[in-house]
Symmetry: C2
């Protein structure tokens, strides 16, 4: 299996035994099932506590004891909401904090001098953003919400301080960064070696897997991004993305209704993804 997917399988394995139900985290932001308090105020210590978060097995506190978990509660300084289309941070912004996604869906993208945009990833609940900023103390990409979102703000100094006190946390921070490196290795393979169909199959399988780890169906998903954003991520034009969706649809592999995708033949997707012989 290719590394792009393999990386996420590792991630999934770690949490698979925990019976996570984080459905709320991925639903529309209009959804009111989660408590909605305005950030920076009226946040009871209860509400910003990692120890109480329904994402705790996906997010930074993974594998910590209850004792350590309560130490960790101080790590999240506050929460922040980002409207659809809003920037969580932008390239060039000073880096001070990492962000853990509580609800919503993001894309990260870099922009070259001449204006070409490259989507470098899509992030969902429980995933950490901002790691790109550590190296030069300023952010190196844009993080844009693809739907209304809420993130936990974790000042990086706190993270480092706590990491020095809690080896388990230190290890986890390292793993999160390593996982990102491995993920990007997989994307490099994808971009350099694969054809359009393989790329899109890999993309869908990867999304499905991550959503499944969050309690969603393995056979259905809603794309939060446009064809153009998918294309940017996969190194192809939006027309090619559209055509490839249509082709999969014609072949009875998936059913496409705008942004709603239903997987009809999971195995066939996997076969396409692994195809060397064609």
């Amino acid at each position: 299996m290719l590394n792009a997917i393999a990386a996420h399988e590792v991630a999934t394995d770690e949490i698979a035994t925990h019976e996570i139900k984080a459905q709320e985290a991925y639903n529309q932001s209009q959804d009111q099932r989660l408590p909605r308090t305005s950030p920076m105020q009226a946040e009871s210590s209860f509400k910003v506590a990692c120890s109480n978060c329904n994402l705790r097995e996906l997010c930074l506190p993974i594998g910590l004891s209850t004792d350590e978990m309560s130490q960790l509660d101080g790590m999240v300084a506050t929460r922040k909401k980002v409207k659809q289309g809003g920037h969580l941070f932008s390239s060039g912004d000073p880096f001070t904090t990492l962000y853990a996604i509580r609800t919503g869906f993001f894309k990260t993208c870099v922009v070259s001098e001449d204006g070409r945009e490259q989507v470098t990833g899509f992030q969902m609940a429980g995933e950490i953003m901002g790691l790109d900023g550590i190296v030069s103390d300023k952010h190196n990409c844009n993080a844009i919400a693809l739907e209304d979102a809420e993130v936990c703000v974790m000042p990086f100094n706190h993270v480092e301080d706590l990491s020095r006190q809690i080896p388990m946390l230190q290890r986890h921070v390292h793993k999160i960064m390593s996982r990102e490196i491995v993920r990007e290795n997989g994307v490099m393979m994808l971009l350099a070696n694969m054809r359009a169909e393989e790329r899109l199959a890999a993309f869908l399988l990867n999304l499905l897997q991550r959503l499944h780890a969050r309690g969603y169906s393995k056979s259905e998903l809603i794309l939060r991004m446009t064809r153009e954003e998918i294309g940017s991520y996969l190194g192809m034009k939006l027309e090619t993305v559209s055509r490839t969706f249509s082709k999969f649809s014609d072949e009875g592999i998936i059913e496409v209704k705008q942004k709603n995708i239903r997987i009809l033949d999971h195995d066939k997707l996997k076969t396409i993804f692994n195809a060397s012989t064609c």
Copy 2:
């Protein structure tokens, strides 16, 4: 400027003021100017000391006080030599240590299930390898020496222990990982958006910059890898790499003599790299 290069510029900036002369580190391994003792034995404490290494401003100890530096000396358990073509580690190997390159030149590559190989990076003196292994406690790629090489073996447990004691080291470890993430972002941009000429120009400029930071000429370099390996890294076939070299040569931008490249028009290379309008 594109991020692939920008990332390395940051790295370079950090060390640019230090007057590094690490020429020896990149020369042919036949070169006898560096002491050559067999690993695992007869290594005096003097020889494995970071505090005494001529790469200390490129490598992990960057920015540490002499006090901290001597603490660090215990981090390198031993040194290890790798013959040209030899594997420093392979995908699937248990991960226990990071490696700092002392001399020599490496490639890292991932291999997909169906056997397609993707070169994910080229590493030279002072750079750290093995970060891919942290996430799953086993290596995720192959690290292969492109010339006879010597590396410092740094058990990751030691690195983590010391990181907890030396905040400056902790920060530096984080920066190294973040830099790798940012580098890979740049490669994604390259693979997804650029044409063959732009990719090769970016590749050459990047190598030149890193070599320059190690005391080498900005106008000459020796390629340690084959056209095929360059092609794999850049997502193109070896024939296209060769043709693009020839084209640059015809246009008077570079002079190609096998693996020896002389840069005749650095600015033109940069222009090609930045080209959006063509």
